[in-house]
Subunit: 369 residues, 2 copies
């Protein structure tokens, strides 16, 4: 499975994997794909350096990348406390009532909420980059919008390609104008922040919009036949995020969550503003239902919603409150039905891809069968 | 482009086209695809017989099919007047106010509303079938749910294959249990009544669910590379509806509507209950915005909504009231940018398919390049 982009990066399979877990990213790189470590949870630069050290030791000199979050809408010039003060009391009361309804206990004394708004602030991402550019990363991806021009220039100075996610051809053209090297076309069916245009329509539209820049197809891909489909649509590779969540190497915070993911069908996700304030696909839970209920106050805009629910989400995860327990994940969750190693997943993907190519060739009359 | 199903039906390309226009269906069949005429607008059996006579004369003995609507939820035992009486006055007032706001004139004297609830009633569909089985149709498709067992048996007695649309693996299994021969997996991005699961995820899920029954991929397909993607996902053909709306042979009610379709992008559709009461993808207009506005009364359930808005839609179409003018269409509308003949469309689809297969083979290392 070789494209111009996979040759440029020196990887065996044009399979890119976004994951918050170093063990998953490294295993994918070792398996011949390209692991991309999500940096958003590293608020302390030392933690990121520690995990990048580990990546270096476990990737056999093969290439990998880093994914940061530099939101297009910035909250610079405001302290976290000032942003906090913008949250209406009605919404705080709704959080308290929803948690009380399900009997969600408090966090133990001294245990802090895992998610902080700081992870979404540009200065934090810049501190992450100060660390990351000391490592031989080959790709820098940005999840929300194009990175600032100086960051793109700095990456290029280090020989690092820059990728950005796009949910529409217009976003993709904006990235191309900003000097991005790779556009990840993320369809409606993907996990996390998505637009409304499905991969089948979005991928070729983005390819047309930014050609000759390489495009990766993201959203709805979890099998070799889906990889073949993404590549048939003009992509130079695929970008998978959800599929790794139930691998053996993944370090989900809860066995109960793994069980929910393994049991969920493709219809069990919802594109909801409950998590961050922007539409993000995630498991449908009683938590997302509460926020999407027209009778409730509804979600706040980003970054207020994320800040509002941060502690609640930590409490739900900490105590594994099953009806409320969720995570960002795409519709492909319906295919995530067993725990496998990253290597097993990659083997299955490449075998499935070859079978799909065989089948397409039979249909096109290019082989016996 | 040959699959087991296309061989069974004796067609050159596994391209199925659903269309309300006999000229489109016949042209597709002549071009080597398989035209499927939508019957829902034929409330008088004689009208259907006239158009099937015409199809016979214009298809050179090549195969074609018919699509009827037999809703899973029946309104039998009620007259149209009794159903009408179930519509709240608040909703009628909202229709009047929305039309008044845009200055939509009345229909001319003696001109009836084009759409009647009768087209959605099982007895009407049965009358259509009494006509249709006198013609050598090769496929009977049902747009909503599985047809009743006696209808399936009658089709099979006539050597007619039966197809049904499914938006989930569960629906598809239900069709298989009902003795259906072909499942059309209709993704979120498709025009008309759709579920929430996108084609990239839905198609292989339905294939797995009903194998060895053949599956057609529907939703988001308007190019040869998208056909290659649909077939890579395990489909035995593709089912296209939207793409024909801007062909030269199509008989849309309005040039203004054609212009809107040609100008629309993939983000200009919405999945709304405004048209029929069930979520159906269509052009986003000020009409759909009004019905989807939380400040309004919101759409009624099927079949009440369709009955409520029938005359209003006719008035909007008759007078080409641009801000309100819409039609069911999929996200592929973004690619419908020129008026071409059906033959030109098919030529472009098959050429694009061959190019996509070339590309996939290069990526798989199966050819020079």
């Amino acid at each position: 499975m070789k494209t111009e982009l996979s040759r440029t990066l020196g990887i065996e399979h044009a399979i890119f994997g976004f994951t918050p877990f170093p063990a998953v990213a490294a295993a994918l790189t070792r398996a011949g794909g390209f692991g991309v470590l999500g940096a958003v949870r590293y608020t302390a630069p030392d933690d990121l350096a520690r995990d990048l050290d580990w990546m270096q030791e476990h990737t056999d000199g093969l290439p990998y990348g880093l994914d940061v979050v530099m939101p297009a809408k910035k909250v610079e010039g405001l302290t976290e406390a000032e942003v906090e003060a913008m949250i209406p009391e009605e919404h705080r009361a709704f959080v308290r009532a929803t948690l009380a309804k399900h009997g969600v206990p408090e966090l133990p004394d001294g245990e802090a909420s895992g998610w902080r708004i700081t992870g979404w602030m540009e200065q934090v991402a810049r501190n992450q980059l100060d660390v990351a550019f000391d490592y031989p990363i080959k790709l820098l991806a940005n999840a929300l919008g194009s990175p600032p021009a100086d960051v793109v220039a700095r990456a290029h100075d280090h020989g690092v390609l820059v990728a950005a996610l796009a949910g529409s051809a217009r976003h993709a053209r904006h990235h191309a104008d900003a000097g991005i090297d790779i556009v990840v076309a993320q369809g409606y069916e993907a996990g996390g922040h998505t637009g409304e245009i499905a991969s089948m329509v979005l991928t070729p539209e983005v390819v047309d919009a930014v050609s000759p820049l390489p495009v990766l197809a993201a959203g709805g891909i979890g099998s070799g036949e889906q990889i073949a489909a993404g590549l048939a649509l003009g992509a130079q590779g695929v970008w998978l995020g959800s599929l790794w969540l139930t691998t053996i190497e993944a370090e989900l915070h809860s066995r109960a969550l793994t069980a929910k993911l393994l049991a969920a069908g493709s219809g069990d996700t919802v594109r909801s503003r409950a998590l961050t304030g922007k539409p993000a696909r995630q498991l449908r839970t009683e938590w997302t239902d509460a926020w999407d209920d027209p009778a409730g106050p509804g979600p706040l805009p980003m970054p207020l919603q994320g800040l509002l629910v941060a502690e609640a989400v930590s409490r739900i995860q900490r105590h594994e409150v099953e009806p409320l327990l969720g995570t960002p994940v795409g519709q492909i969750v319906g295919r995530m039905n067993s725990e496998r190693s990253v290597q097993q997943v990659v083997d299955e993907l490449t075998r499935g891809f070859e079978k799909a190519v065989d089948r397409i060739n039979r249909i096109a009359g290019r082989s016996e069968g």
